[in-house]
């Protein structure tokens, strides 16, 4: 580890799939810029430092930390706290850290249900109904595994976050642009965006980048993509009845999926300033349903067989329903 006076950079993965790391690696030669301008202080995938080394660093000694992955277990949370302490700028990097991503769908189930499913699956031979234990006494000694949290949390649900960089994974060209920006800031040629901002993405939605032709929208039916005989390569997918989330999903990816005739599934999260992503889709889809008859509307809505998955696919753990706090319930009784 060199101590060459360059600002320190860290990247960490909590409960993630590794796709964010791959996306960073895919920025190509820009990686060399990172290397030239930063001292890599902690990057498990690329570097040889341990938690203990990070613990030993002075607080705020890391300039920039990209944190990917959700907070699924105790270990994830401990490292989030550690890196928050040591970092000046903590970026929630990728959908998992920003809003929970697909693993956040686990929040629909109780942990016990998850264990029951996984450890009693059709191919599992488990006559004694064994399940993993956080602490287990082997003949040779006790071994432990980290505690599985009741819900998956986003990074900002456990520590304050300075910036959000959405995407599953963030697109490499966006990462490269952010790297460029940070390097410019270091050189005094640019300033950082305001704290709490979303970086590496647009402020509109995927439709803004989508090349498909679009018209005034009315929906008579929703269809499943496999039931479409021939997907029109040029027409808005939603107008073909395919529930595309591009309407409400922040732009930045370049509308990759709709361009490939696949519906946007929403990995870049909500547009700037939106409080609840799912609500935006609910209201947009529903508003243009072409019927005033409750029965017919319900029939059309049957075309979206899994509304929670459709509207909160990437967003469940980060949605405001996740961040509930008890209300003042002093109705009728003076208390507060």
């Amino acid at each position: 580890m060199s101590t060459n006076g360059k600002p320190k950079f860290a990247m960490y993965w909590a409960a993630s799939c590794g796709g964010c790391e791959i996306a960073v690696l895919n920025i190509g030669e820009k990686i060399l810029d990172v290397d030239a301008n930063f001292e890599i202080a902690f990057w498990p995938v690329a570097m040889d430092a341990k938690y203990k080394d990070v613990e030993a660093m002075p607080d705020k000694s890391i300039l920039l930390t990209l944190f990917n992955g959700g907070i699924r277990n105790k270990e994830n949370e401990e490292i989030a706290h550690l890196l928050r302490r040591k970092s000046q700028i903590l970026v929630a990097f990728g959908s998992c850290a920003c809003e929970g991503c697909i693993p956040g769908l686990a929040n629909l189930s109780k942990p016990q249900d998850i264990f029951d499913t996984v450890y009693r699956s059709v191919s599992t031979e488990n006559p004694d109904q064994i399940q993993p234990q956080y602490e287990f006494q082997m003949p040779e000694g006790q071994i432990t595994i980290p505690e599985f949290y009741p819900v998956l949390k986003t990074l900002d649900q456990v520590v304050p976050v300075d910036y959000y960089m959405p995407g599953c994974p963030p697109e490499s060209h966006q990462i490269a642009a952010v790297v460029d920006l940070v390097i410019q800031v270091l050189k005094g040629e640019a300033t950082l965006p305001p704290a709490g901002a979303t970086i590496g993405a647009g402020e509109s939605t995927v439709c803004d980048d989508c090349p498909r032709e679009r018209n005034v929208k009315t929906i008579k039916e929703f269809v499943r993509i496999q039931d479409v005989k021939r997907i029109d390569p040029d027409l808005c997918l939603l107008e073909q009845g395919i529930p595309c989330n591009g309407l409400a999903t922040r732009n930045g990816c370049g509308a990759l999926c709709p361009t490939a005739s696949a519906q946007c599934i929403g990995c870049y999260g909500p547009a700037d300033g939106v409080v609840d992503y799912g609500a935006r889709l609910i209201t947009a889809y529903a508003s243009v349903i072409d019927s005033n008859d409750p029965e017919e509307i319900n029939r059309i809505l049957d075309g979206i067989p899994d509304p929670v998955g459709q509207f909160y696919r990437f967003n469940l753990a980060g949605s405001i329903m996740r961040a509930g706090t008890p209300a003042w319930r002093g109705n009728g009784s003076e208390g507060g």
Binding site: S204, C207, N215, L247, N251, A271, V288, G330, N331
Partner: protein, 671 residues
């Protein structure tokens, strides 16, 4: 900048203070919401009194309040009062919130502590909301001085004349060949028994000759663009095939026309007209039209009798004439498109269309009319026999769950008029079958007494059936009206020669389309909805669009005339002002955030949403926008915001109502 909020809690005498501990509430607000910017909490006996208002004004001046919350009655009552008070003190009126703790708290709850607690929550919601309020300015829109009146019945005629007489330009659009409407079909009008034509014709003539009225008969509105003060209306003037420049209305053409057609409109299917015709002799304008669907020339390519006999030079018949489309600029529009008569054949047990001597009310009107098919003689369908007994059935298609639940208003008086005419002209026995006798308004009850004195029979009960199946010899050859006489509690069968059905008044068959075209609302039974049923009966929710006459609901001639005049007065006041100030509750699009997805494009019934194909963004026209907020709520990108009811305001109010603000620091750190 941190806001300074003043909270004012009204006692409303004991109306509020009787159930809500108002002193406690105002103190609580000052103490517990201090960290949310509340600098003063006061309670006062009557906040709406001038002293109460001064209290607020003084605090604005002395404490430098930047926001005001008044907890009192409904905003529908006094929102304007307190806004104006704030404005007087130099505070933008839209930075004042009136929250209701009377209609929604003290008057509906009994438990004092629960009501007090709820009042706190309501005020807390108001405080949070007001913090998010933005200063707004009313929108000012100039008013084009011309007006369009759609519909040339008595309501439209009255409105057109009122406006034209004051020196303003009017375009009167009528889809029939002549103005006059239903009133032109009647013989007499109740209760005075004036001759309908005698009182209507002079008005029609005034319209036809008025220098400020452009009469567009045989015309329909094709499209409406624009907004209050500045509408562009596209009118289609249908081809008459008659050159109105040269035609003198001499009538030779319709005399010579060989084709006779049953007249469903003016003669209500009771009489006939020619293929080239004016609907009635006093028609304004006097020019005929050719009915191309029935004209022999248009069907077979030969005849041209009208052209051959036309005496004018140049010949006034022009078979090549085309429909004309033209645009008209107007500032306001009055809709007076009238009503349709209920089709009595929809009630099969009344035998209309099956039994020859069952007549609809309009057929009977034509029969009574001296210029009608029988020259005013009351005769059976054979046009020879004078009836000896006549039944008049009220409420046909009205006050009936199967057809129309409403009362058509005019049928009672109309039926009494028929009874009088029958007795006067034939001496026949007359039986009225009624549910309730409704004779409100001036001289109506007196007319009822007169008909009673004249010997009319009145049977209170709904008619079950009208049949020709005789049960007794004296019923042979008669129409038997079966009804329960609820006054004596017996079924009765009354044999008569003739039955008149006082049919309901219904909205025009195309009312929904017309409403949509003009961007106004229809009620569930398709009457156009007024802005307020009591206080604003001739305005609509759409600025610049007014309604008059039966289009708003069933009414008689005097009421229609009143509405026509009222609508005209409203329009004239607008024109006089020169501009109109609109509530600044409006939607607007942030073009940077708009992705051009076009979700919102179909959501606005006022056509305020415009899509710019070139830039692929949507825009909201603030003058057309009515501020409902539907597009704001629909935008998937959150690119549309709405003043007055912004997301921030609503979110804040939710937090406040749930008392989440109690623990919330004023400066919220993001992230």
């Amino acid at each position: 900048m941190s806001e300074k909020v003043g909270v004012y809690v009204c006692h409303c005498g004991t109306n509020i203070a009787g159930t809500v501990d108002v002193e406690n509430v105002s103190q609580w607000a000052a103490e517990h919401l201090e960290h949310r910017g509340v600098v003063i909490g006061r309670d006062y006996k009557f906040m709406c009194s001038s002293l109460g208002q001064e209290l607020i004004q003084n605090d604005i001046n002395e404490l430098g309040l930047t926001r005001v919350v008044v907890a009192a009655c409904s905003p529908h009552l006094h929102e304007q009062t307190f806004r104006t008070a704030c404005a007087r003190a130099g505070l933008n009126p839209y930075l004042c919130e009136l929250v209701s703790i009377r209609e929604q708290v003290s008057w509906v709850h009994t438990d004092k502590s629960a009501a007090t607690a709820k009042a706190k929550a309501v005020i807390s919601g108001g405080v949070e909301r007001v913090r998010m309020d933005e200063p707004l300015q009313p929108l000012l829109v100039p008013i084009h001085p011309a007006t369009m009146v759609v519909g040339g019945g008595i309501a439209g005629i009255q409105a057109a004349l009122e406006i034209a007489d004051s020196g303003r330009q009017v375009y009167l659009v009528e889809r029939e060949p002549s103005i006059g409407g239903h009133m032109a079909q009647f013989d007499k009008t109740f209760p005075t028994l004036d001759c309908s034509a005698c009182i209507l014709t002079p008005k029609m003539v005034s319209v036809g000759s008025h220098p400020n009225i452009t009469m567009l008969t045989w015309s329909e509105v094709e499209n409406v663009d624009g907004y209050v003060g500045n509408f562009t209306v596209t009118v289609r003037q249908k081809a008459r095939y008659v050159n109105t420049d040269s035609c003198t209305g001499c009538g030779i053409c319709w005399e010579k026309c060989p084709k006779k057609i049953l007249d469903d409109v003016y003669e209500a299917g009771f009489g006939q007209r020619k293929a080239i015709y004016t609907p009635f002799p006093q028609a304004v304008p006097k020019y005929p039209v050719i009915d191309v669907e029935n004209c022999i020339y248009f069907i077979k390519g030969k005849c041209k009798a009208c052209q051959i006999f036309c005496p004018t030079e140049p010949n006034s018949i022009d078979f090549e004439q085309q429909d004309e489309l033209f645009d008209v600029q107007v500032g306001n529009i009055i809709l007076a498109t009238g009503y349709d008569l209920f089709d009595s054949s929809r009630i099969p047990q009344y035998g209309y269309g099956k039994h020859a001597n069952v007549f609809s009310s309009l057929e009977f009107e034509r029969m009574c009319n001296a210029s009608g098919p029988t020259n005013g003689d009351i005769l059976l369908r054979d046009k020879k026999t004078i009836p000896e007994s006549v039944g008049i059935v009220h409420c046909v298609g009205s006050r009936d769950k199967n057809y129309n639940e409403y009362c058509s208003t005019i049928c009672c008086m109309q039926s009494l008029k028929f009874a009088h005419l029958v007795m006067e002209r034939t001496g026949a026995e007359v039986y009225n079958f009624y549910i309730d006798m409704r004779t409100a308004f001036k001289d109506y009850e007196e007319f009822y007494q007169r008909v009673l004195e004249e010997g009319g029979h009145f049977i209170r009960g709904k008619v079950a059936e009208i049949t020709d199946a005789a049960r007794t010899p004296e019923e042979e050859g008669k129409l038997i009206i079966q009804a329960e006489d609820t006054l004596i509690g017996k079924q009765r069968r009354i044999p008569v020669d003739m039955v008149i059905l006082s049919a309901a008044i219904e909205p025009r068959y195309d009312a929904q389309e017309v409403a949509k075209q003009f961007g106004i609302a229809c009620s569930a039974n398709n009457w156009f909805i007024e802005r307020h049923p009591k206080l604003d009966p001739v305005s609509t929710m759409t600025e610049g669009i007014f309604i008059a006459g039966c289009v708003q609901g069933p009414k008689d001639i005097p009421a229609s005339v009143v509405q026509g005049a009222a609508a005209a007065a409203r329009v004239l006041a607008r024109i006089q002002q020169g501009e109109i100030s609109l509530e600044p509750v409006r939607a607007s699009v942030n073009e940077d955030k708009c992705s051009g997805c076009r979700i919102c494009n179909n959501l606005c019934p006022f056509n305020a949403i415009i899509f710019h194909e070139d830039r692929m963004v949507t825009e909201v026209n603030p003058a057309l926008c009515q501020g409902c907020g539907t597009c704001v709520a629909a935008c998937p990108a959150g690119a549309i915001s709405g003043t007055g009811y912004s997301n921030e305001q609503i979110f804040a109010q939710i937090d406040g109502l749930l008392m989440l603000n109690l623990e919330q620091p004023l400066e919220v750190v993001v992230g």
